[in-house]
């Protein structure tokens, strides 16, 4: 068993990272904030996959790599496997986690800059809550994109959170997109 830290440490860093980029640095440019958060995730995924594939043989094909992401890799990060994996056999995969750990653990407070209005804050509109949650999801999307990219499988990764606390990640291998697609509803 490798070194461990309290889960609240990673929760705290993620919340502050997203808050800093969304509120302090790119307050009026959520697209830029999203790209930075995704880029941070990308580096983490790139490095983690190097470590988590160290003791194992190479994958025979892309499907085997994706299954690894869904099982072993997801377990290392979230202590469970992906619940459902679907594909349209035409370059798109959908990974579904019915109870995405970071959505259930992380108490997402959009007004975290203002300490007073925390747990008892006025009612958040559903749109606002989705927006803030989406920002957090750019990070795990980046992790998955970074991991797959380092395995030689570039793809675009986006999240669908229309059914919280379930989270669906869409992996798109069709176009070689480098930028995260918009996750906010148009």
């Amino acid at each position: 068993m490798g070194r461990e830290v309290a889960e609240s440490c990673i929760d705290g860093v993620i919340i502050e990272m997203v808050s800093a980029y969304c509120n302090r640095f790119y307050g009026s440019k959520p697209e830029l904030a999203a790209r930075r958060i995704e880029a941070i995730g990308y580096q983490v995924g790139h490095q983690l996959i190097e470590r988590y594939t160290m003791e194992r043989p190479r994958f025979s094909d892309h499907l085997e790599a994706i299954k690894f992401i869904c099982k072993d890799f997801w377990s290392e990060l979230f202590k469970k496997h992906i619940d459902n994996l679907k594909t349209n056999h035409r370059g798109t995969f959908v990974l579904q986690d019915n109870k995405f750990r970071w959505l259930t653990r992380v108490s997402i407070d959009p007004s975290s800059e203002n300490l007073e209005a925390s747990q008892d804050s006025p009612v958040l509109t559903p749109e606002h809550k989705v927006e803030v949650t989406s920002m957090h999801l750019y990070f795990p999307c980046g992790i998955i994109r970074g991991a797959l990219s380092n395995l030689g499988i570039p793809c675009a990764v986006s999240a669908d959170i229309s059914n919280l606390p379930a989270c669906k990640l869409h992996l798109d291998f069709g176009d070689n997109k480098n930028f995260p697609p918009r996750m906010l509803p148009e």
Binding site: Q43, H46, Q47, I49, E50, R51, T53, M54, R56, P57, R58, F59, S60, N150, L151, G152
Partner: protein
């Protein structure tokens, strides 16, 4: 004795190259490394259909020259490790063990947040660790 080790990226870009021998051999070693890459590509793209070795990271001996033997290893992230040795009798277990330790050192080096993927590894700690692994090569099973 190990005379040279190399780390090469998936686009055959050099990430790390270290000789442990006199300078005038260096050019020859670089040439050997270069040729080895072709052998690796060939091995990986035209694998012998012998099941168990198909996806192994350890590629075994790539080719012998007059004075050297070259061993290769390919990670899941398509990074190649190459080792050139003058030893005539090399134990399989020793080489595997060498590459396992080498791989661990590599993973730590690329886990440095300031390392740029695809660029050369500049870590002093990595260089020291590799020296140590090279020095202790074969010592476990040495007769």
């Amino acid at each position: 004795m190990i005379v040279c080790v190399a780390v090469v990226g998936h686009q055959n870009n050099p990430l790390y190259l270290q000789s442990f021998t006199a300078a005038d051999d260096a050019l020859k070693l670089h040439h050997i490394i270069h040729c080895s890459l072709d052998v690796v590509d060939e091995r990986v793209n035209n694998p012998k259909k012998s099941g168990p070795t198909l996806n192994e990271t350890f590629l075994g001996m790539l080719y012998p020259t007059e004075n050297y033997k070259v061993y290769g290893y390919l990670t899941n992230t398509k990074v190649k490790f190459l080792m050139v040795t003058t030893d005539l009798e090399v134990k399989d277990a020793d080489v595997r063990s060498f590459f396992r330790k080498f791989h661990a050192a590599f993973v730590d080096a690329v886990s440095n947040p300031f390392h740029v993927p695809g660029k050369k590894i500049t870590s002093k700690i990595f260089a020291e660790r590799i020296s140590g692994i090279v020095k202790s090569f074969g010592s476990v099973t040495a007769g």
